[in-house]
Symmetry: C4
Subunit: 248 residues, 4 copies
């Protein structure tokens, strides 16, 4: 009940920020948006205070002072705080120019779904489970990115001084190419540049497809762990089976 | 026989709608198209009536009235109805402006293949089998989409007020980037915008590749379920077969 | 030895056709190209005749006449014939306008590698092994393609009469989007069109990634079959094990 | 300690080359860059000399002269040499025009990370493990590339003489399409050209996605080899464990 209500409220908040950004809609329904904003912040503030007050019921944060303090520093608690702080501060009085950014900062409230969304929790545990693979592939991707940009910079810089003005600038082309997004706003024009670009595309995109493959694999594994779990104890003698020990 | 005829007729109908849309061809062969249309609708109407009349032979819909009624509300029955209704109504008399849309609505007849096409049925069961994974990845994709659009909107809005006029408008860029389609009709121009875009592309496309991976996995599983489940024990002597030992 | 020579000759032929198409190079080295062409055709003709003469040694084509005839109709034999016929006919005398096309038709000689290339044979057997899956996914892709094109045609036709002049024309956009190639030469401009395009991209690309996934899976399986093969007979009683029979 | 220092120094060098290429930054901090360069080359030279001096401790290169010589020809040793040689030669005196290229050649120092980076070593062993599959898919890709380019050249050459001036030139379009990068700087304009392009895209991209799939698979296998090989028999009582039976 309460959960459903909070999830709905968070979703509505995100929706509000999105519609908010459409000039017409915002001007037309300003009062409604503002009222809704006040209401949301009120609810989220109460939620935050209650969480802070109730956390002592958890053994980990039993101590009334230091426990609550440590609880306040947990990621989700910080998210909850950040979701309300900007608005509270604004009403405390900040010049208007900041307002728009503050309005948009509310999009961060989507992170509050972390309390309830199985999807976000699953994603988090997939990333944790595959952190080594992901880290390695990221390193490989950046090495590839640097090499591709440097080479293309040397080749194209003279012919397109603006588009390929420096290696960092060339990285924009390299990312667009290696991810196969390929906007086409920047492309090599020289023969050698196109040849190099072709080789980079053919041999490089495999690297940038790695994370997708790793996440998909981890994602499917994660789901499978719920179904067919492997016996943790021998069905014959009942002794424990060490999953990680290798048997050649 | 009848099946083959109906499948052929449906295919021809779809083909007709497609060619129909080519001005030249339509004007040249209008009478043929119209005759074919009348013929098709006649056949489909007869088919629909027969299905409705015969459904009582199915235990689930035995009751002459309520059974037929419940049958008429099954997805495929509704598809059959929707495939003929517009044309029938048109002849009943509707102003001509609607005609073109009606002519195109006939494309929905492709759904009638659901009666016969193993492909569509397989796809349906794959989606059913993986609905949880697909739902979760859709949630993740939309969270990613919202965050990417909001951030890019904040960064680029001032420099490209038309292209990035609002968060919903920015989503067009975000979808093109995260799916790696990358039309290039809208791209960030500021340095910070390109940096942000690069990070979104590198870290985001993995999420949007998830459904493809999930569908492919489910698709292959689905096929495997029909064939090669391998015996873990010899069917003749019942002794266990060591799966890992290789037999050259 | 002979194999290596023929593979080399075929590769050189393909290379020749490619360089051939570069105006400058062709004009500069015309005599060399022509001499090489005569030489190649001579060798390939001899090869073809020898194959036809020797085929009777194969039990399947033992009969001197009908056997040779049936052999001449095998795919690879036809490829060999098609690789020499155009050039032979040209020298027999055909007006020059056809020449350029004939010169390019020689690219088909690359198919002669089917005699030797393990890669092409592996690919062929992967396609055979997965023909059902591939056929099904092709059907799904074309259904998706037709639906996407029809819907987008209805939405964008009025605003971009040339780019989206008909459903077949709109398919160019649909293919570019669903394969994530995204040239960007044709893109929806209306709000509803962009919304529709976004949905098509998000939900459609999964289908068009299926063949890649299927081929990759079949490709890896194919390689694995060489290594860990499963016992075709029970190691205990030696009776045959039916791989396809399912044991619940 | 020393390792961390060297890794850091290499990273800083790569960073320096990248910033180096930004005109503004380079002009502003030239002295710093030059000092850092001298320092780096000094360190790398010492490192190289020490490696060469110490290599005799390895049994493989025990011999003082021939051993050191053979060691100097190992890939990593050559990388180390190439990382310092250009700068040393420049100071020996080379005209300034070469300088910029030399400065960029230093990017090759990133290869020195091969001494320390597990990521690069893992990638190398994945490529080794899957070299057959990768080689085969490369062959298939190039055959596809040649066929696609030749066909499209025949179709589009007359209508776009510059963009599709020759088969090699058309390959730029073919690579952009088959890798799904799709810059859109070159696209077919004729109806038949678009039809051909659509078929190439639909049937070709599967081939160019193979390496990504192969690398991802090999990557995951490589990681799995370290962890979780599961016992097929209970380590305590030695009885077989039925992998398929589920234990809730």
């Amino acid at each position: 009940m309460v959960t459903a209500f909070l999830v709905g409220l968070i979703t509505l908040n995100v929706l509000a920020v999105i519609l908010d950004s459409v000039e017409g809609i915002y001007r037309a329904y300003k009062p409604w948006f503002d009222t809704f904003e006040v209401f949301s912040v009120a609810v989220f503030t109460i939620e935050y205070v209650l969480r802070l007050w109730a956390c002592t019921s958890l053994p980990a944060y039993r101590h009334p002072v230091s426990g609550r303090f440590r609880f306040a520093l947990t990621p989700l608690a910080l998210v909850d705080l950040f979701a309300i702080l900007p608005s509270l501060l604004t009403w405390g009085g900040i010049d208007l120019r900041a307002l728009r950014v503050v309005r948009l900062a509310r999009i961060a409230r989507i992170a509050k779904l972390g309390h309830y969304s199985k999807a976000l929790q699953l994603m988090a545990s997939v990333v944790r489970r595959k952190r080594h693979e992901l880290a390695i592939s990221l390193i490989l991707m950046f090495v590839m990115l640097i090499l591709a940009s440097s080479l293309m910079y040397v080749v194209e810089n003279e012919h397109q001084p603006e588009a390929f003005s420096s290696i960092p600038a060339t990285m924009w082309w390299a990312v667009a190419t290696l991810t196969t997004v390929g906007y086409g706003d920047v492309t090599p024009v020289t023969g050698i540049g196109k040849l190099l670009g072709a080789f980079i595309a053919i041999f490089g995109i495999g690297l940038f497809a790695l994370p997708a493959g790793i996440i998909a694999a981890g994602f499917i594994e994660e789901k499978e762990d719920d179904s067919n779990t492997y016996p943790s104890h021998c069905p014959h003698c009942g002794k424990a089976i060490d999953k990680d020990r290798t048997h050649p």
